[in-house]
């Protein structure tokens, strides 16, 4: 999809902050794509989409052509995004009801969806909606529809948990959001390309940031290959 996918493996000098990561994802979104950005960190990607990118943002509560967050007099409580934040509309925007909004998602009409994650497996299984902790109130929203709906699902996350465990795993231990749905994983230290067909169980590494390939191999409990 992007030119990066065919380039060979590169090592970058420094670990990426969340804004640099958002810029990296934005640079990989093709001109003219229809994109849904999940709540939280993925929303930052919109800050790095060039005005001439031709990218149209979808928000699952029923809008294409969503503009930046609204401030001051532009706030209209009938115009909010999926995170219930007031937003603006861009020229060419359209509104539609929820069943249409999810039909265009489920029907494969969106090119890319960018989501956060607790865990992603080597074959692209995603866990991002529930930690399964006893006593916690579950909430799923559109996560399961988003995960399996777009042509490509990108994940943005730190590679390691706070206690140093890899979130890229052989098999997810948290409750799943979707099966074999993630195609690419953007982390602070590496970008991974996932073979959703399963392949040999290894994961391609497109680039590293602040770590060498060999160091990355010690962080992730999976066979890795350079792209």
């Amino acid at each position: 999809m992007s030119s990066h996918q065919t380039t060979s493996f590169v090592e970058g000098p420094t670990r990426l902050g969340k804004h640099e990561l958002a810029a990296l994802v934005a640079a990989d979104i093709p001109h003219g794509a229809f994109v849904n950005l999940g709540i939280g960190q993925p929303t930052l990607v919109s800050n790095y989409l060039a005005p001439d990118s031709g990218v149209t943002l979808h928000t699952e509560n029923g809008m294409l052509g969503m503009g930046p967050e609204a401030h001051g007099d532009d706030v209209d409580l009938d115009l909010i995004n999926a995170g219930k934040i007031p937003v603006t509309e861009l020229p060419g925007a359209s509104y539609f009801h929820h069943a249409d909004s999810f039909a265009m998602m489920r029907g494969g009409h969106l090119d890319i969806c960018v989501l956060g994650a607790y865990q992603v497996s080597a074959r692209g299984d995603l866990a991002n909606w529930h930690t399964g902790e006893p006593g916690s109130i579950p909430a799923v929203g559109g996560a399961m529809d988003l995960a399996i709906g777009a042509k490509d699902t990108f994940v943005m996350m730190t590679l390691l948990t706070r206690d140093g465990k890899s979130k890229l795993v052989d098999a997810c231990t948290y409750p799943l959001t979707g099966v074999r749905c993630v195609s690419r994983i953007y982390t602070d230290v590496a970008v991974f390309l996932v073979d959703r067909a399963g392949g040999d169980g290894s994961v391609l590494v497109r680039e590293t940031h602040g770590v060498t390939f060999e160091e990355l191999e010690t962080l992730v409990p999976l066979p890795l290959r350079r792209a």
């Binding site: 928000t59 699952e60 509560n61 029923g62 809008m63 209209d76 409580l77 009938d78 115009l79 909010i80 995004n81 219930k84 509309e89 509104y95 539609f96 009801h97 929820h98 069943a99 909004s101 999810f102 039909a103 998602m105 489920r106 299984d125 529930h130 006593g135 109130i137 579950p138 909430a139 799923v140 929203g141 559109g142 996560a143 399961m144 529809d145 399996i148 709906g149 409750p175 799943l176 959001t177 979707g178 099966v179």
Partner: protein
């Protein structure tokens, strides 16, 4: 015939205990707050409520839940930073939760209004929310069988109605309105104004009046936009 009234209390008066009620809105946008408050005032209880969320703050749906009128809620995203009314009832075991992925929730409501008996969807396959449901592989992909959500009543907020119940909506406040209006036996809509038949361009009608039974005029219900084309 569409009943047009200025009394939200009258419009919801016949909703009985134990009814299943679809309530529109995505968070606060499109939430029919005045109709819900009338339902609180009516004292109706043991309701099954279908909404995307489970109330925000202390008004509208949160007030209905807080007053202990909702026995069961079907929704996709109950837990929010301001869902304390629901959280308290849930933790006390006083409300039953059926958690449904948002797109499945919308499609199940749509299916009810469209006369569809059930449908196979890829959403949720392989996850805890598909446990116990029939799964079928079609052309190499796995799908989960989901059933329609029919209801006795729908409470919907639209922007404008005409005298025969045709509706337009405003921006993302449209959300569940059109599909809920079609999925209930009796659909009650609040709007900020009702215009004469003929004053609404048929090309811009989103919900045709066939789906609408009662219209409640709440002048403060939505911000009128004089510059907005009909």
């Amino acid at each position: 015939m569409v009943m047009i009234t200025e009394s939200a209390i009258d419009a919801v008066a016949d909703i009985p205990d134990g009814a299943t009620v679809l309530i529109g809105g995505f968070g606060p946008a499109g939430q029919p707050v005045e109709l819900i408050e009338a339902l609180v005032a009516s004292g109706t209880r043991d309701l099954t409520v279908v909404n995307n969320n489970a109330g925000n703050g202390d008004g509208g749906l949160a007030a209905l839940i807080g007053a202990g009128r909702v026995r069961r809620i079907i929704c996709s995203f109950p837990r929010q930073h301001d869902s304390h009314q629901f959280d308290a009832k849930y933790r006390a075991g006083e409300i039953e939760l059926e958690l449904v992925p948002q797109g499945n929730l919308a499609e199940r409501i749509r299916a009810a209004g469209a006369g569809i008996g059930a449908f196979f969807t890829p959403t949720g396959y392989g996850t805890p929310l598909a446990e116990g449901k029939e799964v079928r592989e079609i052309d190499g992909r796995h799908y989960v069988l989901e059933l329609p959500i029919r209801a006795d009543y729908a409470l919907v907020k639209a922007h404008r109605a005409d005298e025969v119940g045709n509706l337009t909506y405003r921006k993302t406040a449209r959300n569940f309105g059109p599909i809920m209006a079609a999925a209930a036996t009796t659909t009650i809509v609040q709007v900020h104004e009702v215009v004469p038949a003929g004053d609404m361009d048929p090309e811009v009608v989103v919900t045709p009046g066939i789906y609408v039974d009662r219209v409640v005029v709440v002048p403060t219900s939505s911000t009128p936009e004089p510059e907005e084309g009909q």
